[in-house]
């Protein structure tokens, strides 16, 4: 009987994943990571509160599977929280969930799971995978378009995909809830949250202010011709596309176009300037296992919640870099977020946005 480690959160998705895996005949071991929380805020870390831990432990006990918690505080701080702080300090808008999926969940946890003697690791993500005749493994969108989480999983390499299972990806959220009820799993009906776990419900600006006060340097607000329009209160206080709170008088509404970390300036412009048709991405992972050399048509998502938009993907000579040209201008393309390339349901690959134009 193949052994599967399941990353459990105490929530409905990973709990039902356990039920599904057991029904498929796998020997399941529940696992959970103890992530970094600010001292005194352990109760509010969305991913590993004592509460959610107790809930996961309870579910594991009900299903009679082993359950272990692995301490990841140190590595999570080093790899995820620190790089989040550094990214903001450099004027970017980093996405720590991507780093966590790449270095914590699908590396640190996977290594620990393999050490326990498992063959696969499963999560409660809404995504699917399939094997091609040539042995490659494809990552696909989850069947519930409203819940698809393939965006954050584009970081998976072929090696990791060969170990990965996504039991809930074939179902919709309502179906998952129904399975939970049929199996008497009284899991927490926590609202799905987009907040970062380690912020513990707090505004990221306050968090940043405590840990990187130097990131808040006042600087100039410029228009795209370099004319000074006013003063900004520190780049981390702004997001691309933001209109309110700029505190400059203008006859037309102005939006944040760019955060220039090197010169500590905020570039603003009109609604028309907001749309960008091109971007460059680095650290590009060819999730699909095949490095393309020629430009190809695809749909590209530039943030977790964005709609995929059609365009051309142009690989550079360095296979970890691509340029992307959209068919029509896209709003709010933000450095530090990922551009994820899809062919229909299939994740071709993804990388971190470093430039838009």
């Amino acid at each position: 009987m193949p052994k599967v480690a399941l990353a459990m959160s105490g929530g409905v998705d990973s709990s039902v994943a356990a039920v599904l895996l057991i029904k498929q005949g796998f020997d399941v071991t529940g696992m959970m990571l103890r992530l970094w929380s600010e001292p005194g805020k352990e109760d509010s870390n969305r991913c590993c509160t004592p509460d959610s831990m107790a809930q996961a432990r309870r579910v594991a006990a009900r299903l009679d599977i082993p359950f272990y918690v692995i301490d990841a505080k140190e590595i999570f701080w080093e790899k995820v929280v620190s790089s989040f702080l550094d990214g903001y300090a450099a004027g970017d808008t980093p996405n720590p969930c991507l780093v966590c999926n790449r270095l914590i969940r699908w590396e640190f946890l996977l290594e620990h799971a393999l050490a326990l003697g498992v063959d696969f690791m499963a999560t409660g993500h809404y995504a699917r995978s399939k094997i091609l005749p040539d042995g490659r493994r494809l990552l696909l969108k989850g069947n519930d378009p409203a819940k698809d989480q393939s965006y954050v999983l584009h970081v998976l390499t072929q090696e990791k995909l060969s170990r990965a299972m996504f039991p809930v990806g074939d179902y919709t959220k309502p179906e998952i809830r129904q399975i939970a009820e049929e199996n008497g799993l009284s899991v927490a009906r926590r609202p799905d949250s987009q907040d970062l776990c380690f912020l513990a419900g707090e505004n990221y600006r306050n968090f940043l202010l405590r840990y990187r006060p130097a990131a808040f340097q006042k600087g100039a607000i410029l228009d795209s011709t370099g004319r000074v329009l006013g003063e900004h209160s520190g780049l981390p206080n702004y997001t691309i596309g933001q209109r309110k709170g700029l505190d400059i008088s203008s006859t037309v509404p102005l939006y944040v176009l760019e955060k220039d970390g090197i010169n500590n300036t905020l570039i603003v412009g009109t609604f028309q300037d907001l749309g960008k048709t091109g971007l460059s991405a680095v650290d590009f992972n060819w999730t699909c296992g095949k490095i393309e050399k020629e430009p190809f048509r695809a749909e590209i998502k530039t943030r977790y919640t964005a709609q995929a938009a059609p365009g051309w993907v142009m690989p550079e000579s360095d296979p970890t870099r691509v340029s992307i040209q959209f068919d029509s201008p896209q709003r709010d393309i933000t450095n530090g977020q990922a551009a994820v390339v899809y062919a229909g349901d299939v994740v071709i690959g993804g990388g971190m946005i470093v430039k838009s134009r």
């Binding site: 071991t29 959970m32 990571l33 103890r34 352990e42 590993c48 004592p50 831990m53 432990r57 082993p66 272990y68 918690v69 692995i70 301490d71 990841a72 505080k73 590595i75 290594e111 620990h112 050490a115 326990l116 003697g117």
Partner: protein
């Protein structure tokens, strides 16, 4: 895969002979020991027989035995009850104890300090975790109300020189409490020899049921009840007695003491093999606790730069149930107070492993365990990236 239990200091399975003794008192002889009628008399007789058996083992009078719900309750009653009553009587308000004590003692002492105006003096330990009688002798004074030193340590297995400490207390007319919850399984429990005034026991460490304990209270020891109510247990512990569990407690204690030498011999040889083999084969490993004066079923170690909880997880996945000095199921490891108290740094103190043997342990299990352990320690080290 066979699951091998090597955590007998955490708890033990119920001895079938004990279960047999308990069974009639659930349904057939279910009476309340306080009742006047025959049902009550039957139950009362069972409790009093259990008290006599227990007193026989401890070499004390039956009326010096108070049944409680567990070892922790016994510790609470001993510390809180004696401290409050002694202060009332003599004005003494100092408690001497150590950081290696079970939390049932140390947390109670801390509460007495924080909320009840007592002063706690923490006795230094030697590197084996032992309380040196000379340290007690130096610390004890006319303000001392109570000394509490455990008979044997749960985490590191060290046996304390209880009779010597008892002698010092007696000489200074200070009440002496000892937590013997771990010691009771394998050590003689003669309260005259130990020179204790209060002695805590818990049933489930010696193949009795969980949820029952006892406290020896030497006649004349000032003690304020912690649970007030009916006059059960000589007015020192209110609440209807848990008859079947008290019967089980006494039977298990009787068996433990009558089979003591046989049981000790069975585990101590295997324990010595574990200690020898681990220290020889695993680099950066140390024995914790006293190499000589330790519980016969108890082997405990620290491994440098190992996450002890991770090691326990790897061991469990490999089929071996052990424990550490920082039992923590939430993945938030901190070295235990005991590790700090015996002077271990964090890089050593986090990597503790406790292997405790018992009735089900076989030489084959230990051979297999010793085969897999070095590899798992290695794995824990490399996963920790250290």
């Amino acid at each position: 895969m066979e699951k091998v239990y090597l955590d007998y200091s955490a708890t033990t399975p119920l001895d079938p002979r004990v279960l047999e003794a308990m069974l009639p008192y659930f349904q057939e002889k279910f009476g309340n020991p306080s009742s006047i009628h025959r049902f009550g008399q039957q139950a009362e007789s069972a409790v009093e027989t259990a008290r006599e058996i227990t007193a026989g083992v401890l070499n004390c009078k039956a009326e010096e035995i108070i049944f409680t719900s567990c070892g922790s309750e016994s510790d609470n009653l001993a510390l809180r009850g004696a401290a409050l009553a002694i202060r009332e009587k003599t004005g003494a308000n100092q408690i001497l104890t150590s950081r290696a004590e079970h939390h049932a003692v140390s947390k109670t002492a801390e509460q007495l300090e924080r909320y009840f105006g007592f002063e706690v003096k923490w006795l230094d330990l030697d590197p084996f975790g032992r309380v040196d009688p000379a340290v007690v002798k130096k610390a004890i004074n006319e303000k001392t109300a109570l000394v509490s030193v455990m008979a044997a340590n749960n985490e590191i297995g060290t046996i304390n020189p209880i009779p010597e400490i008892g002698e010092i207390c007696r000489h200074n007319r200070v009440i002496f409490h000892s937590d013997a919850v771990q010691a009771a399984t394998y050590l003689p429990l003669d309260v005259e020899h130990m020179k204790v005034d209060l002695l805590s026991l818990g049933g489930h460490k010696f193949y009795g049921p969980k949820g029952v304990g006892a406290l020896f209270v030497r006649s004349g020891t000032p003690l304020l009840p912690v649970l007030t109510g009916g006059g059960q247990e000589f007015g020192l512990r209110a609440g209807t007695q848990n008859v079947p569990y008290i019967v089980g407690f006494a039977e298990a204690l009787r068996l433990a003491q009558s089979e003591r030498e046989k049981r000790s011999a069975q585990v101590s040889l295997l324990r010595d093999r574990i200690i020898g083999s681990i220290l020889e084969e695993i680099p950066d490993s140390r024995l914790t606790g006293d190499p000589k004066d330790r519980l016969p079923q108890h082997a405990s170690f620290v491994f440098k730069n190992v996450d002890g909880n991770l090691l326990l997880t790897l061991l469990d996945a490999a089929g071996y149930a052990c424990s550490s000095g920082s039992a923590c199921k939430t993945g938030n490891p901190e070295p235990s107070e005991v590790m700090a108290a015996i002077g271990l740094s964090r890089e050593w103190g986090l990597g503790s492993l406790r292997v405790t043997l018992g009735s089900g342990t076989t030489p084959e299990q230990i051979s297999a365990f010793l085969q897999v352990l070095p590899g798992l320690v290695n794995q824990a080290r490399s996963l920790g990236g250290k």
